[in-house]
Symmetry: C2
Subunit: 312 residues, 2 copies
Amino acid sequence: MSPPREVLAYAPASVGNVAVGFDLLGHALDGAGDRVLARRTQSGEVRVVRTSGTPMDLPSDHLRNTAARAVHALLQARGASFGVELELEKGIPLGSGMGGSAASAVAALVAANGLFADPLALEALYPYALEGEYAASGGRHGDNVAPSLLGGLVLATHAGCLQLAVPEGMSCLLVHPDLVVETRLARARLSAPYPLSEFVVQSEALALFLCGLHRGDIALIRAGLRDVLVEPRRAELIPGFNQVKQSMLDHGAVGASISGAGPSVFAWFESATQAAAAMADAVAAFAAAGLAARGLVSPVAAAGARIEQCTA
Amino acid sequence: MSPPREVLAYAPASVGNVAVGFDLLGHALDGAGDRVLARRTQSGEVRVVRTSGTPMDLPSDHLRNTAARAVHALLQARGASFGVELELEKGIPLGSGMGGSAASAVAALVAANGLFADPLALEALYPYALEGEYAASGGRHGDNVAPSLLGGLVLATHAGCLQLAVPEGMSCLLVHPDLVVETRLARARLSAPYPLSEFVVQSEALALFLCGLHRGDIALIRAGLRDVLVEPRRAELIPGFNQVKQSMLDHGAVGASISGAGPSVFAWFESATQAAAAMADAVAAFAAAGLAARGLVSPVAAAGARIEQCTA
């Protein structure tokens, strides 16, 4: 049987950083994602022929670059004898802190990978997804591409990805205000040097968080799910952030912080019911700061990217 | 039965920081430690009446303070009706990076605790041991007191201690050169601010290390057991450091770095045999830098503090 001529793939949004793992930890989100159709061509080139979906608040060039660059890297590495046309259908607003560029890169890669007679395993696509992220953000951090690719909570290192077990029922409330924070600008706020003492506090939190996950100990996860390093330097980019976060904690959140580079705010709850119950107050807190917002509840262990359709 | 009038306790040396956990991780060492005899008195005071053992290269005042301050904090918290005289027998050279002040504080506390009719559990002594460490180093970091108290590899946080499982057979080679590095001076070298990128690299290492421990995966431990943050800033305080470290890695060490504030250098090996086989070359590397040195091999999961004798 010859490989398909067209493959449609889906990749979910994701929460990057997860408060305690700047550039290292991320988890997938149900309920928002990108779709990419990849079509085999004779040309040998990789081209984005169409972009649709969520209205673009930012130029979509870097998205095209993200998806095309990732696929180009894959084709080169595999010595592909064909080119690929990509059609992107954005389901994730750009500059939302929901890993939109990562999802585009991952969906494009998973679709293009499906055009091969001998496709790679999902994990093996990670380095090419990092290439795509590099086009979008200027950094090779995998905290969005890794969970978008593999699903669940992932430790994304330069060497590869480790999926981390999450207590059953652990759920994420993500609230996305109608505001764009560009990743590059959000990163610029982090350039000032840091005292070692802040790093020690953050490392302690990371260690508690990881030990809590491994032991299924919510108290340890709660002690660790926080960010003294990056959140204080970015919070003022997000009107109402402190109130939104506090409203989530008041509803019993295990922890709450900025999703990726923001402006979306996320919180972990011990159950989906608890997460859903916290949504209205978080949205209201953004409204009080003059921002419309919408909420989304997802398991932390949400599914990763997948092929949705193949056409011969 | 009335409680004893005199208690003799032993507390082991320890490796602080363990490369990847500055101020957070430490493990106990067999083969070197301090003994403290605590004697109940009527005075209500805490006094160090004798210090013996290893010749002192530094004034021993801060050791006296360390032990006395820790015991004083314990007596106060418990509303003790008696005072305590302490006799310290140092088995750990001061300024060696082997957690000597921590061992003095811990041994003194464990001995004094034994004078009560209703002694506390070892874990409950941790906050008082931190008080003692504060007298010695000016910081409340528990990476030496926690393992000296509890044994094994310990994550020492402000909230408490978590003992971490270590793969069976994992052994430490520690080589102590004839040189004194005072903790306060070694800490002064760390005052310059840090770029966030260094934190990310070090956090990745910490996460890999902890995941490796939890999974019993030596490759992950190997990937994580390193220090890009502190070691480069302290290495030049230790003549021959790079050669000593390299000799250990050449013998197959899982990782090697500075023990605590130095000048001792430690490495982890998968077996005691491997650790022992690496000792001669490490000592020779110090000799080539003009320093006499002695080595010690210990399980990473070495025992913690213990009462050795009670006298009615």
